[in-house]
Symmetry: C2
Subunit: 216 residues, 2 copies
Amino acid sequence: MDAHPYAPKDLSLPGFVPNLLSATTILVVFAVATIIVVSLAWFVPARFSRITRMERILICWWVFTGLTHMIVEGYFVFSPEFFKNKTGCYLAEIWKEYSKGDSRYAERDPATVALEGITAVIEGPASILAAYAIARHKSFNYVLQLAISLGQLYGCVMYYTTAILRGDGFATSTYYYYAYYVAANSPWIVIPTLISIRSWKRICGAFDGRFKRKSY
Amino acid sequence: MDAHPYAPKDLSLPGFVPNLLSATTILVVFAVATIIVVSLAWFVPARFSRITRMERILICWWVFTGLTHMIVEGYFVFSPEFFKNKTGCYLAEIWKEYSKGDSRYAERDPATVALEGITAVIEGPASILAAYAIARHKSFNYVLQLAISLGQLYGCVMYYTTAILRGDGFATSTYYYYAYYVAANSPWIVIPTLISIRSWKRICGAFDGRFKRKSY
């Protein structure tokens, strides 16, 4: 049994190094980085392309989620020993902290690693492409947004279902369960659902026009 | 250690009952059922709707894959003790036999159960809806086909990635590894890939028409 804050207590993490940054520091850095990224995504594309307010909001989301997938989740996927990190590396600190809400990250549960891998390697770059496709009015923008959003939703369903099948006992306390495991993930349920519905409707609309012209 | 044919040998399956049907019997029943289903899907919709040859092929696929998801995989999801079945129930026999290629089914690995659950409960009924949408020339037919095909591909990536992360040692022998674990799953990689590409192109084509009319 090792001295770590995670549940279950008998989880073996030899060489574990406790968080060097506080939860507040981690959150503030993430919030500041998000504000910078979203501000750039809001102002820069609009200087080069004629885009609506909704398209600007969507570009902000895709840039934010794409960078989160590639940098934050990408670090996790390729750093199996992040919990031993003693340099105070910000990305390792994020995952040491988040593991208090879901110790499967520290444990390296195969289902969690596999779905984070798909998210980081496929959905991350695809999200940046979606931002570009919206800004440039590419014909594939709706279908790409739908594909990524459905992938994110599939990932969320897998994430919670595999936890429930294993007994759902991976949070250090009720606070971490709701703050990290539930609340921190909720944007990736709500926003992909909204984008899926919007993209689906737009795609059907494009075909309705076509089918009418062809008088089906 | 129990007397079962699966790998790894130390997998605990108390109450295991060996296959009562031979592999040949299981395969022949599946083949005959498939021929009946595909024949009905080929001939029946064409009597009520003006559909092309490619649309008929797609309807056959969606009816076949939808029924497989709902009946065969649905049985697995909701029968955690299929390996104890001593009635010779055909669906239990399928999974006892398939587990020789991937013992995670008998073991009830959470990742495997979760992705089979999504496949059986969501993708199964959606596949039947896709067959209907093609036959009735619904405007949502391409987007639905794309959504299900991408879901099937996501499931396949999860399926193999979680096995590799756990060491990929779940087949009784090399024969079962290639015959069941690789070959039996390959249609669900090849066909969803082809349908995804086709649907994606059709959707972009519909928007190209639109964007041209709006002179983007």
